[in-house]
């Protein structure tokens, strides 16, 4: 019997991934060709024996709704467990009132009705592997009122710009939570993952909404961390925050190191996703593929290097794809060269000859665009 229920939170109004987020929330972004970002927090929960999960949705919920569905593919008993999709009333994603607290407040009934004593809150816009049972055990053993998950990074100057950092004392007590302004390389990035009693969570939500209608969960914890016992638990291994196009691109490219990727996907910690029933990928006589992740259902006649190719993509003859992410069902016609680009779903690159940018500024090609 699980001691905790799960909350999968949505990115707030301060975060916006140019291009990709015009069409779907970050949780619904394709990741490594085969997955969607939300598969990670939900699989972490499912693998941690958490079988009652609330997923908070904001604008453009269609794809996330469809992908999560009944949640059976996340291996959650459909009677005893439940993945509940909850909506905020204010669905304009850029509104300052549209934040996590207002969403929890609007659905407080459903939070109160949970039988479990604890809650694990995890974001739908970050990718990592974590056994929440360990987090919960450490939380209970330490006697802390709130435990947050954090990750030490060395590239906070260029990445993780939408994230918060945690300032810790020697006892791993949280001193402050601040926005990452890119002022230093070494930072403790807050993973927007929290563990606490359900009652504490409800109090935080009520207090925050009472104090200011634009307060977020990190805001109120920052405010309270002097008077409450708030501790930090260090996460190790792969960690990505997909809160900007650069972060998304960088995090994807990092996984082309197979040892990193295969560490994130262990047999004893499956990352579940919804199957699309696509057939295997067809490599033609002329195909040349190296250091790439290729999804099923593709037709590959050209060259693919250091790239990630989504389901059902068509890579024509003489094409070269380099350091790029090609999303599902895109078609790249013969003899086109693409470097350092993110090509969104259903795009058709027919006439454009070359799409080449630098690694630090990947080009984004719109969904359904015909170039």
């Amino acid at each position: 019997m699980a001691k905790a229920f799960g909350i999968v939170s949505s990115a707030d109004n301060t975060i916006y991934v140019d291009g990709l987020q015009d069409y779907r929330p970050i949780g619904s972004f394709s990741f490594l060709g085969r997955f969607r970002v939300v598969d990670f927090p939900i699989s972490n929960m499912s693998n941690s024996d958490i079988n009652r999960i609330q997923v908070y949705l904001q604008s453009k919920p269609r794809s996330l709704c469809e992908h999560i569905g009944s949640g059976r593919h996340y291996n959650i008993n459909s009677k005893r467990g439940k993945i509940q999709l909850l909506f905020s009333e204010n669905t304009s994603s850029r509104s300052i009132y549209n934040n996590d607290i207002s969403a929890y407040k609007a659905n407080l009934d459903y939070i109160q009705r949970m039988h479990e004593e604890y809650v694990i809150v995890a974001p739908s816009y970050m990718v990592y592997k974590q056994d929440y049972r360990q987090l919960l055990e450490s939380h209970i053993a330490s006697g802390a009122e709130i435990t947050v998950l954090y990750h030490k990074v060395e590239n906070a100057r260029n990445y993780f710009k939408g994230c918060h950092t945690v300032v810790l004392n020697k006892q791993k007590g949280v001193q402050a939570i601040e926005k990452n302004l890119g002022t230093a390389s070494n930072k403790n990035i807050l993973m927007d993952t929290y563990c606490m009693r359900k009652e504490t969570f409800i109090e935080l939500v009520q207090d925050a909404s009472w104090m200011s209608s634009i307060y977020t969960l990190p805001d109120i914890i920052n405010l309270y961390c002097k008077q409450m016992d708030v501790r930090a638990y260090q996460h190790k291994g792969y960690f990505a925050s997909l809160t900007s196009l650069d972060d998304y691109y960088h995090a994807s490219m990092e996984l082309l190191d197979y040892s990193i990727a295969s560490d994130l996907f262990k047999a004893d910690w499956p990352i579940y996703t919804r199957t699309t029933d696509s057939c295997p990928t067809q490599y033609f006589e002329t195909a040349k593929v190296t250091n790439s992740f290729i999804s099923n259902g593709c037709l590959i006649e050209g060259t693919v290097e250091n790239s990630i190719i989504g389901r059902g993509a068509v890579i024509g003859k003489g094409v070269t794809i380099k350091n790029s992410i090609i999303m599902a069902y895109s078609e790249i016609s013969d003899n086109i060269r693409i470097e350092n680009a993110v090509v969104d779903k259903w795009a058709k690159i027919v006439n454009a000859k070359n799409i080449i940018s630098t690694e630090l500024q990947p080009q984004y090609i719109k969904r359904r665009d015909i170039l």
């Binding site: 029933d277 490599y283 195909a287 790439s292």
Partner: protein, 380 residues
């Protein structure tokens, strides 16, 4: 098709002994095919796509894997409220002992109570070990149009091979006037595919009579169809012209896999209007490594290629390590080809490891090499 207008029964008892070591632990319909599928995915997906709700799978031989595989009916979407895939094994009855199925017709007869529970108008009988895509709803429409008692799917085979098949001779308007099992001098080239639609009321009556007949082999081909012809029932041939394969041997299984390497292959598993559904396995997408060379290949998710692969089909989680070569071969799920090993014109079975620098298979052997056990590393 209305709910339960037609029920499908899949005969999946095949021991498939010519598939040798591939079938010591699993029944033939559970054998892998096409990178990510099992053979029985084809009739089951055909059923789902044809709008059939309830499918019975008749098994008896060592079938724990097949049974638990098909029991997960959600794989083919057959898990909605009144749908289901039901495994039907021989069972003890109140007044009888436990009895094996004595023949194809007997397998149906022993499950009359199951069929009656759904009260279908028509019964579709399928084989669990054929690879093809067919819309049974169209066959049923033909059956109704012809006002048939039974409709048998047939396909044209080369005339010189016709004597290896059960051949249907028709009157030119589709009505079957004669059925010859492996005729020495075939009069037509229309071979039975072992796919039947019967009007259930009539079939039920005939099965009840057949059960009591001590002379009968209780087989559709040997007993029921000939009797229907004798009784001048309306038997019609439904011609099918798409891809169809009965993979009875290692060679034909290998060949059927190789067929998929032609991007214009007739089976076309990429057709989104008629998908073949199968087990959903949690894996990474396929990874093609830094020094890998892959050409003319059919590869599915979870595969890791660091070596070179040509003219081959690689199943889920197969691994080809650095410097290894896989040529004209099939690697079943989880098969591992270690560094420097060479696999040529072979079929490497599930989870089998070909050791470092080992060489299996041959370019010139008469038959395809089946590698069913781990092969130790070779000398350099």
């Amino acid at each position: 098709m209305s709910q339960n207008e037609m029920l499908a029964m899949i005969l999946a008892g095949g021991r498939g002994s010519r598939l040798k070591d591939l079938t010591t632990k699993v029944a033939k319909p559970a054998v892998y095919y096409g990178g990510k599928y099992r053979i029985i995915d084809f009739p089951l997906s055909n059923c789902a796509n044809s709008g059939i709700d309830v499918v019975g799978v008749l098994t008896q031989y060592e079938s724990v894997l097949l049974n638990s595989y098909v029991a997960q009916d959600g794989r083919w979407g057959l898990d909605s409220k009144d749908s289901g895939v039901y495994v039907l094994t021989p069972r003890e009855k109140a007044d009888e002992g436990l009895d094996v199925y004595r023949g194809t017709a007997d397998a149906i007869s022993q499950n009359i109570d199951f069929i009656d529970a759904y009260n279908p108008e028509y019964l579709l009988i399928l084989s669990g070990d054929h690879i093809y895509k067919m819309n049974y709803a169209k066959m049923l429409a033909y059956h109704k149009e012809m006002n048939a008692d039974a409709t048998i799917a047939v396909r044209g085979v080369p005339m010189k091979e016709a004597s290896r098949f059960g051949i249907m001779n028709t009157d030119g308007k589709g009505r079957i006037i004669e059925f010859e099992e492996k005729p020495a001098k075939p009069k037509s080239n229309l071979a039975s595919m072992g796919i039947y639609i019967f009007s259930w009321k009539l079939l039920r009556k005939m099965l009840v009579e057949d059960m009591k007949n001590p002379e009968s082999d209780h087989d559709f081909g040997k007993d029921i169809i000939p009797r229907m012809l004798n009784e001048h029932r309306g038997l019609f041939a439904y011609e099918f012209s798409g891809y169809w394969k009965d993979v009875g041997t290692i060679d034909s299984l290998w060949e059927a896999n190789m067929d998929l390497l032609d991007p214009k292959n007739e089976l076309n598993l990429n057709d989104s209007s008629w998908l073949i559904y199968t087990e959903d396995i949690s894996t990474l997408p396929q990874y093609i490594g830094k020094e890998a060379k892959v050409k003319k290949a059919y590869i599915t998710q979870g595969v890791q290629v660091e070596g070179s692969v040509s003219n081959s089909v690689l199943f889920t989680n197969a691994v080809v390590k650095k410097g290894a070569k896989v040529i004209d071969s099939v690697l079943m799920p989880g098969a591992i080809v270690e560094e420097g090993a060479v696999v040529t014109r072979a079929l490497v079975a599930e989870n089998v490891k070909v050791g470092k620098k080992a060489k299996v298979g041959s370019k010139t052997s008469e038959n395809i090499t089946l590698v069913a056990k781990n092969v130790k590393g070779g000398n350099k």
